[in-house]
Symmetry: C4
Subunit: 241 residues, 4 copies
Amino acid sequence: MFKPIMAEFLSTALMIVFGVGVHCDTVLNGTKYHGSGHLFAITTWAFGISVCLFVFGGGVCMNPAMALAQCMLGLVPWSMFVPYAIAEMLGGLAGAVVAWLIYADAFEVSAGKVDGVAVRNIFSTNPLINDLPRSFFIEAIDTFVFVSGILSIAHFGGDNLLLVAVCVGILVWAVGMGMGGMTGFAMNQARDLGPRMAYQLLPIKGKVDNNWRYGLLVPGIAPFVGAACAALFVHGFLGIF
Amino acid sequence: MFKPIMAEFLSTALMIVFGVGVHCDTVLNGTKYHGSGHLFAITTWAFGISVCLFVFGGGVCMNPAMALAQCMLGLVPWSMFVPYAIAEMLGGLAGAVVAWLIYADAFEVSAGKVDGVAVRNIFSTNPLINDLPRSFFIEAIDTFVFVSGILSIAHFGGDNLLLVAVCVGILVWAVGMGMGGMTGFAMNQARDLGPRMAYQLLPIKGKVDNNWRYGLLVPGIAPFVGAACAALFVHGFLGIF
Amino acid sequence: MFKPIMAEFLSTALMIVFGVGVHCDTVLNGTKYHGSGHLFAITTWAFGISVCLFVFGGGVCMNPAMALAQCMLGLVPWSMFVPYAIAEMLGGLAGAVVAWLIYADAFEVSAGKVDGVAVRNIFSTNPLINDLPRSFFIEAIDTFVFVSGILSIAHFGGDNLLLVAVCVGILVWAVGMGMGGMTGFAMNQARDLGPRMAYQLLPIKGKVDNNWRYGLLVPGIAPFVGAACAALFVHGFLGIF
Amino acid sequence: MFKPIMAEFLSTALMIVFGVGVHCDTVLNGTKYHGSGHLFAITTWAFGISVCLFVFGGGVCMNPAMALAQCMLGLVPWSMFVPYAIAEMLGGLAGAVVAWLIYADAFEVSAGKVDGVAVRNIFSTNPLINDLPRSFFIEAIDTFVFVSGILSIAHFGGDNLLLVAVCVGILVWAVGMGMGGMTGFAMNQARDLGPRMAYQLLPIKGKVDNNWRYGLLVPGIAPFVGAACAALFVHGFLGIF
């Protein structure tokens, strides 16, 4: 039981090192890739997730919403839901701390020069336009497509873990670019709330309001709705799992 | 019979959520990825189609022109042609409505600030240079390559659905960038006319002429010509199907 | 015998439609993707070649230099070398004419507005810095890596045509970006001289000198040197074929 | 014994031709792809490594740190460690010389026009912010993820060399973009010190200080730490090799 929980923690942390890391890279001063844009960042999120699957195998969820869907489908025992979710949240927090350790010098030179909201958004997803119900709807839809996609890929991919991982990366690429522009495609409590907590705790200069209300209501809840719908859809309509 | 028709509807809708969605993302104000450019957009169209195949399997056409080619080759019964085409057209419409629901706040803040033609072109394909015969020729050629490519990929890929889906994405990537600059590579009645109808119906501010003449004559007809030639070519020259 | 020669003609033509097409797209006025840059263009060249292999299978050379290497290795009979090379050259010419037909309206609106040298370079490869011996060396090296790579990929890929085709695209991507900046990575007589002839023949306004001396001496000869070395290398050092 | 050592030399050289080459391409004047940005460059590094694996097979290390990890795991005999490391260092030097030969005309026209530090950084990795302990930590972490990833990919990929090579490219893509912005992701003595020596020796105009202290202390040592941890991790936690 220790190993899978540890794998959830480590894989989620690694995902966040890639994802928060690439936002540090493109947003902060003092990095080589400053200003490299959204294709650069979303490609890293997408294929950083592939790397997590390469390393930790196809069993990891890295996401409480995905864990919920897999519990509903009987792929993960319900008794593991809370341990997995806690490990993932802590992994999200730890990964953001590691990314901050990597980019700490860039945070230093960016203090007072890079907009405080942009620095906060390195960690957590926050929409440009404040509209809670719409954001909730978007995160639910995005997660529905995301979780349905992963489950289908796993179904069709069988034993070919590498191909499964590459296809999951491609899925994140497309969802991020096509459906992510309003909310930043959290689709995962651990991806949003873990790094949001890190922003709260880390000694970053010029902090702005951390928008917990948005974080808890939208990326905190909507992915469960989307993932539950996805579990029903893949089982009921696609007839897999 | 219900399931495959429903799959056509849903897969086409999902494709359009990706494709119209990414145009919202890059064209409208108020999105995070505003101005991310054509590589960003075409990558999303391309691998969004891969995702549709990951989820709905290799049997879906998502395109009346492709349905025609598959009927000609005996892969889909002729009795399904009209039901498929209708489901796909409705899917294209529904997908554009979902994309609009996701990006509705961005449409709002863009009203009067983003050029009306650019907003219309989020939905449908319209050339920069008005030349109906040339556009017809281009859409026929593009569809010929597109449909021939998919059929060959399906032939060589066999059971490996994930690899087939990735290769179809790569095909769309190359066709879009290399052959798409004049007409926007519709190659599909459902992709163009479904979202064009959505633009007609949705409460978008500052609408411009919807260019139905172009829509019906070029993306409405030319893809059938290209797809029929593709069916003859893969059967007669390549000797597959 | 007719079929493989026709396949050489058609596949080379298709490759050039992608490649010359994407240069039209990024260079000419009046296209949607004007100014999309080199990553956009090289990605299209790379994965356009994957598409040619998807459609025409792994047997096509699309390149007299590759045909030479395959003749040296006994993969193609020497009696086919001249017919293949002629079919490929004509394919290169035909493909450039098709690309011109697709983008003819953009050529029209670009006349006198886009630099004549840039328009010529849509078709053929010409270095920014005139240095024949250096360019010869570069094209030989590039072709050596390119042909060695394809032969190795074919060896390791076996029957998995789709994966082979994707990997060849990845190879072209890397060679184009990493080794292509001085000469434009022709690596193929049919890719350079076919479209160069098309530029000579087509009614394009404001033509500039067509640089045949460069075309014939560098992309006309150096790829044979690189490909012959590649044949010796894969046979003698890698021990394949 | 000669063949594998020669393969280390040649594969490392080829990797550096891609990597140093693409930096020439984007940094120097007189190249076609000048200013193409970091996505362009990192994509080339990533998939250039895939090409090296396509050509030389899955056995090559191309990296003394990777050789160390494989010796620790019993995949490479310890007696080969020093010969491999020397061959790799010389390969890194030779590859940088070949890249310089390819781009020599561009070096010429860039003299006095492109910043001397930018020219030096074509060859070797040097951080924008001088902080030795932080850089050491970053290079150790990056190498840990890099080597763990490759070993896992090799484990899951088995005989499918092409898929393994593509996945290694994807790994480098993600690590480079997400974790590379502070130090330039050397992760390899041969990649940094070989080209650094080439910069020392080649007749480049306007040379700046070559920063050997950084080169020897950070990319010279930290990758061994990261790779050793990776060997322990994949054996002890993942239970592979």
